[in-house]
């Protein structure tokens, strides 16, 4: 059994154990044996049997997942657990599944609907350590569908965490230490178009430059007596003009048309244009990370330097806005959909740029081992990403997101060049609609993942 599969089993058993009401319902409804104590009460949750997760309190959404999680009852077959849940805190979650039982579990999970599992995750309370942990790492179930895999979608999950641990003081620039990790794991690895896990830390030195602002003029605008909202309440400072505007609009729960029609809104937009102007944000980072595929059969270490830049122009009449050639196609679509009347690009839709130089240690990289090329190598990479609005639909915005990543090994050995392992590129595009529907397309390869896959995703997400 691979390490990744074991991790999957443990996470699943912990998640389902935390939602023990569901597991018990499943056993009854699906005809499967009752849940074992181990599956129902993970070691991290010794007091799982509480009112909040009793069967009587199961939500309709939780009840809907019954068929999908029925296979979890399999551990009871090993005879090591009784038929009644005990909530024994000493149960070892890693001993839940024998290899053949895990295989059955994973077979049963393939082709399942990720939304049902995500509903189960959403039912986990942040008050409990597991729910908080899964939310902090952005753990989500998802379906994978690749061209060269089996016809049915394969279930899997993704995670993504980013924790800033420490910062140093600084007014115009700052330094921070970040721990990060992200990846996609499919229960059927062949169906994973983005078979790439990345875990590491980063040291960032970043800052921003904005337009020179006439602070005296701005202060005068903020205190404009014509629109100032009267004296302060006793014991309080006088309210800021724009703050008072926000408070009033929030208190009245004003419709957006009302907010946008207020004269203060126009002043606010001008003030923001003055304060941000031709914004340029930069970030210089040193990093070290471990890159692998999902079963860790290919593994390599990377460390290096990275520079990122975000430019935005908040002045619609500036040259930098007019010369945003990247946004002209989107501006045309905005005109066609009636989102804007004039054919002008947005200064806020400039692509963001990341460039990096990494020294990569291809330890346990199967593809390179096969070519007997396991020496560390230097790799350059670049990424462009942008997001631009296309239309307003149901009072929400339809967005188009694009991302392109390029990786190039510097001075590669001829064997690597012949095998086509010296260069990878990856492109992803996404259309996101206001009601949660999205259409995504990705193509190309990422480091480690040697196959060139293309995949479409059509999905729906919802905020609970």
């Amino acid at each position: 059994m691979s390490r990744a599969s074991r991790i999957v089993a443990i996470v699943l058993s912990l998640a389902l154990g935390a939602g023990s009401a569901n597991a018990q319902d499943v056993g009854n409804a699906g005809g499967a044996p009752p849940p074992s104590p181990a599956a129902d009460a993970p070691a991290a949750e010794p007091t799982a049997r509480t009112a909040e997760n009793s069967p009587a309190d199961a939500s309709p959404a939780e009840a809907a997942v019954e068929p999908a999680i029925a296979p979890v009852e399999a551990p009871q077959d090993d005879g090591s657990a009784g038929s009644e849940p005990s909530g024994d805190a000493d149960d070892d979650p890693q001993g839940l599944f024998e290899p053949e039982q895990l295989s059955k579990l994973l077979d049963a999970l393939r082709g399942s609907d990720p939304d049902e599992f995500n509903e189960l995750l959403d039912g986990l309370s942040r008050e409990r350590s597991l729910g908080r942990f899964l939310e902090d790492v952005n753990f989500r179930f998802k379906a994978f569908d690749a061209e060269d895999a089996r016809d049915t979608a394969s279930l899997g999950f993704s995670y993504d965490f980013h924790k800033a641990l420490e910062v140093s003081p600084g007014e115009s620039s700052s330094m921070s230490l970040v721990l990060r990790g992200r990846g996609n794991v499919a229960f059927d690895q062949r169906a994973n178009p983005e078979d790439f896990l990345d875990t590491g830390f980063e040291l960032h030195f970043f800052g921003a430059r904005y337009s020179d602002v006439d602070l005296d003029a701005l202060d005068a605008r903020l205190a404009d007596p014509a629109t100032f909202d009267g004296p302060a309440e006793p014991g309080r400072e006088p309210p800021n003009r724009f703050q008072a505007f926000f408070t009033q609009m929030a208190d009245e729960d004003a419709e957006l048309e009302t907010v946008f029609a207020d004269p203060t809104w126009n002043d606010l937009k001008h003030a923001i244009g003055d304060l941000l102007g031709d914004e340029c944000f930069w970030d210089f980072a040193a990093h070290a990370s471990v890159e692998s595929n999902q079963d860790f059969s290919s593994l390599q270490y990377a460390y290096g330097l990275q520079y990122g830049m975000v430019i935005r122009d908040w002045n619609p009449d500036s040259n930098r806005t007019r010369f945003n050639l990247f946004d002209y196609p989107f501006a045309a679509l905005r005109c066609l959909t009636g989102m804007q009347s004039d054919f002008t690009p947005s200064g806020r839709a400039w692509p963001s740029l990341l460039v990096g130089l990494d020294l990569v240690d291809p330890a346990e990289n199967a593809s390179r081992e096969a070519l007997d090329e396991t020496d560390p190598f230097a790799r350059a990479r670049a990424e462009l990403g942008m997001k631009s609005p296309l239309a307003v639909l149901d009072d929400g915005v339809v967005w188009c997101s694009l991302g392109y990543r390029y990786y190039r090994e510097l001075d590669p050995p001829s064997a690597i060049e012949r095998a086509g392992l010296d260069e990878q590129s990856y492109f992803a595009a996404s259309l996101d609609f206001p009601q949660g529907w999205f259409l995504r397309y990705s193509t190309g390869t990422l480091p480690i993942d040697a196959r060139d896959d293309s995949a479409f995703e059509l999905g729906w997400s919802h905020s609970f």
């Binding site: 309370s125 942040r126 939310e135 902090d136 993504d160 980013h162 800033a164 910062v167 003081p169 600084g170 700052s174 921070s176 990345d198 960032h204 970043f206 921003a208 904005y210 602002v213 602070l215 701005l218 903020l222 302060a232 309440e233 309080r236 006088p238 800021n240 724009f242 703050q243 505007f245 926000f246 408070t247 609009m249 929030a250 208190d251 729960d253 004003a254 419709e255 957006l256 923001i272 304060l275 941000l276 914004e279 944000f281 970030d283 990122g308 975000v310 963001s352 990403g385 942008m386 997001k387 609005p389 307003v392 009072d395 929400g396 997101s401 991302g403 990543r405 992803a428 595009a429 995504r440």
Partner: protein
């Protein structure tokens, strides 16, 4: 929205977070609907980009929000809080895909003291 997050028009952190995000065109919703919006529904969140690029965008948005809170709304940092701490906290909150605008406003409340805010 997290059960312990109180999205309230009488809370300056809530109304100012909403107002600034609306003015930056990060969201498009009236106040009562904005609190439940998730970070991955904000304009800065690019689902086609790598996490590294998304983190850069979040850093830039955090710096933008900080500038507007301090220069436009004339907020001060809470006692014991610094600008780098506020930026790091805002960036971290912005990078939680399932995090809500209401939860972001809690981070704002922890780091900024707005004019007229009860101490």
């Amino acid at each position: 929205m997290a059960a312990d997050c109180n999205w309230n028009a009488n809370n300056l952190a809530c109304s100012n977070t909403w107002g600034i995000l609306l003015a930056l065109e990060e969201l498009r919703a009236k106040f009562s609907l904005a609190g439940a919006l998730r970070m991955d529904a904000l304009a800065f969140w690019n689902g086609a980009a790598s996490p590294a690029l998304r983190a850069l965008e979040a850093q830039a948005l955090a710096a933008r929000m900080d500038r507007l809170f301090v220069k436009l709304l004339q907020a001060k940092y809470e006692q014991g809080k610094t600008r780098p701490q506020a930026l790091a906290a805002l960036q971290a909150a912005l990078l939680v895909a399932k995090g809500t605008v209401c939860e972001l406003s809690v981070v704002v409340d922890e780091h900024y003291n707005f004019q007229g805010e009860l101490k």
